[in-house]
């Protein structure tokens, strides 16, 4: 049973990591980046190429993945997000970016799932009465640490405060001298670099394959909807819920029911608390 829970936690951590990426961009530029999970997927593929094809040292691969995805995300912001002002059209263009990344990955890396080794070992360990792989533990720890660090930074760095200001009242923040455009580009670039790095941790668990992005995108979104848009802590709770639902349903009902139940969870949360568990419903302003 504990083994099952560990699996759920690890999967949940992956989805939470995607949701964290959504949040970074959302908080700083009120944009929903459809392509966030695809960026992570590209990170996973680069990890495969670096570690398996070219046998490069982990550190080099990590840097390369972070740099490459950073550039991709920056490009996306400049080409697909900045020139578009209406949010509904931004949704179309970031979906375009997602589709483009998915198609390009298919062309470059093919359709087969690629196995990526985890550099900190692959022996099974026993923890709290459940058996798990080191990579699963690493995922859970990464998600928690990221949330704690990002929350701390957003409260204590000037940059973080600027971001929170932007989220609260964009116009007021701009009037106070916050450079909204540079922040938006920075947020995309940062979330990109992060996605590239995370590819190294995620890929050994999920494999690298071309439709990884789509499924992660949806599950990441459900995590976000449960935790609430813009809530960093909420991603952990959302991830926990989604990961456990998926794992338990797969184990006891069969894998074809997993998506259905996660979808049901999304529908329920949208009905009961449309703004998510950790975000106060904000009143409309005229």
């Amino acid at each position: 049973m504990m083994t099952l829970i560990w699996t759920g936690l690890a999967s949940g951590a992956v989805y939470a990591l995607v949701a964290i990426g959504y949040n970074i961009v959302f908080i700083s530029s009120q944009t929903f980046n459809f392509a966030q999970a695809q960026l992570l997927m590209v990170g996973a593929f680069i990890a495969y190429s670096g570690l398996v094809t070219f046998h490069l040292p982990v550190l080099v691969v990590a840097l390369a993945a972070a740099a490459a995805v950073l550039v991709l995300a920056g490009l996306e912001e400049r080409v697909a997000v900045r020139p578009v002002s209406q949010p509904d059209v931004q949704l179309v263009t970031t979906l375009g970016a997602a589709t483009l990344l998915e198609g390009a990955s298919q062309l470059i890396w093919g359709n087969q799932p690629l196995s990526v080794p985890f550099s900190a070992g692959s022996g099974v360990v026993t923890l709290l009465g459940g058996r798990l792989f080191p990579v699963q533990l690493a995922l859970v720890i990464t998600a928690i640490v990221l949330v704690v660090v990002l929350t701390y930074l957003s409260r204590h760095l000037k940059l973080g405060l600027a971001l929170l200001g932007m989220a609260e009242d964009r116009e007021a923040a701009i009037l106070r001298g916050v450079n909204a455009r540079r922040l938006a580009l920075g947020a995309f670039a940062f979330s990109g670099a992060l996605a590239g790095l995370l590819g190294l941790v995620v890929a050994p668990y999920t494999f690298a394959f071309a439709t990884l992005g789509s499924s992660l995108a949806l599950y990441g979104f459900v995590v976000l909807a449960i935790g609430g848009f813009g809530s960093m802590g909420g991603t952990l709770v959302g991830g926990l819920v989604v990961g456990l639902v998926e794992t338990l349903v797969t184990r006891y009902l069969g894998s074809q029911y997993a998506d259905l139940f996660v979808f049901a969870a999304l529908v329920v949360i949208l009905f009961v608390r449309p703004a998510g568990l950790f975000v106060r419903a904000r009143e409309r302003v005229v």
Binding site: V92, T93, A98, V222, Q256, D259, R284, V285, V286
Partner: protein
């Protein structure tokens, strides 16, 4: 140019109808099998794109669920057919209804959060298709697909391949006629208002949630029809036909053709079908191509091919000086004396002990005031004193923490904004916010969209009731436009008006619903003195007609001139209330406004205003 004029003199539906007749006749014009099949697939894709246009282009909600509704329609028809139910009309009807239900069931939760949540829930729906088919693999054939569909029949007779071709084209044409009738009706204007802003829509009594749901679910109908047509085309369906690539193809067709258009859907679908889908080597690059296209199309193709077409028609119209779009006749410039105002029976608006706290910031504290019919009640106060907050609470955009707001016998607080509008509260906005592409008369008529109802169905079939409501729309719009002096710009695009006239338009839009209370939010700000005078005259007329007018205003001169009763807000509380003469002398008002302390003051506000005006005069 004369040719163009002749072409334009025909009703606008004639040209698409001609094109439809040509397409119908294609098999008899010697078109080969593969070309015929392409046309059939174009029709099916056009139905899907058209459905997305309704929700994305008109209601502003991006949805990827068309593919899922399409699958629902296809499998419904397929299962019916396998069980011996091969009549095409029955299959179309049931498939359409099933797809509509899928739309309703996913739209209800999907529309609750924001514009992304529908996109995501509907995207999720597409991902669920293979799983659902696997779970119900008994009736659906699972991943192997559903085969063994019977030959399609119509009224008990088997359909020939040409007969089926006709059936597909006629169904498509019929849907486009329905779509055209919805979009060109008052519902089309309402959709544009909704797309512009939820707040705007609810201020004229439209429930944004319901309207979006209607658009999204209704978009499922053509998808269901397309599904039934597709199932019978090859008599075999499999999960592979309803994947994410299809969802992006539909979206690309929408962007290419122009999302806010009727016929753009057909053009976009035709290009997508005949262009990229044609070549087999394309499959490999499909996603890259669609992705790149969505980015480029989204950034550059604002309005799609339909917009290019509209611009071209407009330009030709102007060149040929087609009647109706010609420049407005000179003379009647709207500066004449306002007309007599019909009776505007108001109700008593009462605010009792209302408080509002925004996370520690006490915006309003125990505010009470009332506005009576036949009186102009002004609400004044420095910036940040809570005037607009109070207005927003009356309109239901904020909830009251405590206290009560009533209009006549009706309790307003805790009602949704659009219900409050329906209860008889009309308001104008400080910054006039109007959708592009509608005329002044249409913008004004939108004010009575919810007040005088005519269902979608009545618009589709242009029933006598619909015609009656439409006629009343036009008559009343003319009347209020005359009243505020905008008759001469009746057919001009509303967004093209200068600020002063747009404020008058706002006023007309508020009036047309014959509201029980009229809330005017800084209606004079940014206007020149003549325009302010004009508004003052109009307001006095409204008072004579018995209206309840609440004026939130910074323009002190206007307030002192027209108001019967003034309430002064400061720091979220009413600090003074009474007649203009009383307020002018009130020491607390003086200290709030002019920073004058009680001892030193022999000043009055009117005096100050006069002094400032005089100073300004000297400067000029």
């Amino acid at each position: 140019m004369t040719i163009w004029r002749t072409l334009r003199s025909a009703p606008s539906w004639v040209w698409p109808a001609l094109v439809a007749i040509v397409i119908l006749a294609l098999p008899w014009l010697g078109l080969g099998y593969s070309a015929i099949r392409q046309v059939q697939l174009c029709c099916i894709l056009a139905l899907l794109v058209s459905g997305l246009n309704l929700s994305f282009g008109y209601a502003g909600q991006l949805a990827l669920g068309q593919a899922a509704m399409y699958a629902a329609g296809a499998y419904t028809a397929g299962i019916m057919s396998v069980h011996g139910q091969t009549d095409l009309l029955e299959e179309l009807a049931v498939s359409g209804v099933v797809a509509l239900l899928v739309g309703l069931l996913t739209g209800i939760p999907g529309l609750r959060l924001n514009s992304w949540s529908l996109a995501m829930t509907s995207f999720f729906l597409v991902l669920l298709i293979p799983d659902l088919l696997q779970i119900f693999s008994g009736p659906t054939g699972g991943s192997n697909g559903l085969s063994g569909l019977g030959a399609v029949t119509l009224f008990g007779q088997p359909l020939s391949s040409n007969g089926y071709y006709l059936a597909i084209v006629i169904t498509t044409v019929a849907w486009f006629a329905v779509m055209r009738n919805i979009v060109s009706s008052r519902h089309g204007v309402a959709f544009q208002v909704l797309k512009q802003s939820d707040v705007l829509a609810s201020s004229v009594g439209i429930s944004p949630y319901r309207m979006k749901l209607v658009a999204y679910a209704l978009g499922g109908l053509p998808a269901g029809l397309a599904g039934a047509l597709f199932a019978n085309l090859d008599q075999y369906i499999s999960p592979g036909s309803f994947d994410f690539t299809l969802a992006t193809t539909i979206l690309a067709g929408t962007i290419l053709g122009g999302s806010a258009s009727v016929y753009g859907a057909a053009i976009g679908a035709a290009i997508m079908q005949i262009g990229p889908n044609e070549s087999t080597s394309f499959q490999q690059y499909a996603l890259v191509f669609y992705g790149a296209f969505l980015i480029v199309g989204g950034v550059l193709l604002n309005g799609g091919i339909a917009r290019l077409g509209r611009t071209l028609v407009g330009r030709l119209d102007r060149a040929a000086a087609v009647a109706g779009t010609a420049a407005t006749p000179p003379g009647e410039s709207g500066d004449g004396p306002p007309q007599e105002v019909p009776r505007l029976p108001g109700g008593v608006l009462a605010v009792r002990g209302v408080s509002k706290n925004f996370g520690g910031n006490q915006a309003l504290l125990d505010v009470s005031l009332s506005a009576s019919p036949g009186q102009i009640t002004a609400l004044i106060g420095p910036n940040g004193s809570g005037k607009t907050t109070l207005l927003n609470m009356v309109c239901g955009f904020y909830r009251t923490d405590s206290g009560e707001i009533t209009l006549g016998e009706d309790r307003l607080n805790h009602l949704a904004p659009h219900r409050i509008a329906l209860a008889g509260v009309a308001r104008t906005f400080q910054t006039p916010n109007l959708p592009a592409g509608i005329t002044v008369a249409e913008a004004v008529s939108s004010g009575r969209y919810a007040k005088a109802r005519a269902s979608m169905w009545s618009a589709v079939f242009r029933t006598p009731k619909y015609r009656r409501v439409r006629k009343a729309d036009a008559a009343q719009a003319d009347q209020v436009l005359e009243l505020v002096g905008l008759s001469d710009v009746r057919d001009t695009e509303a967004t093209a008006l200068p600020l002063g006239r747009r404020r008058l338009l706002e006023l007309a839009k508020a009036l047309i619903a014959s509201p029980r209370v009229l809330l005017l939010d800084e209606i004079a700000s940014g206007l020149d003195e003549d325009e302010v005078d004009r508004i003052g005259v109009l307001l006095a007329k409204f008072r004579e007609a018995g209206a309840t007018v609440v004026l939130v205003e910074h323009n002190f001169r206007l307030v002192l001139e027209v108001a019967d009763h003034i309430a002064v807000l400061a720091h979220g509380q009413v600090i003074a209330e009474g007649s203009p003469a009383l307020i002018e002398q009130d020491p607390r008002v003086l200290s709030e406004y002019l920073g004058v302390t009680e001892e030193s003051s022999t000043l009055t506000i009117a005096g100050e205003v006069a002094a400032i005006t005089a100073e300004r005069g000297e400067e000029r």
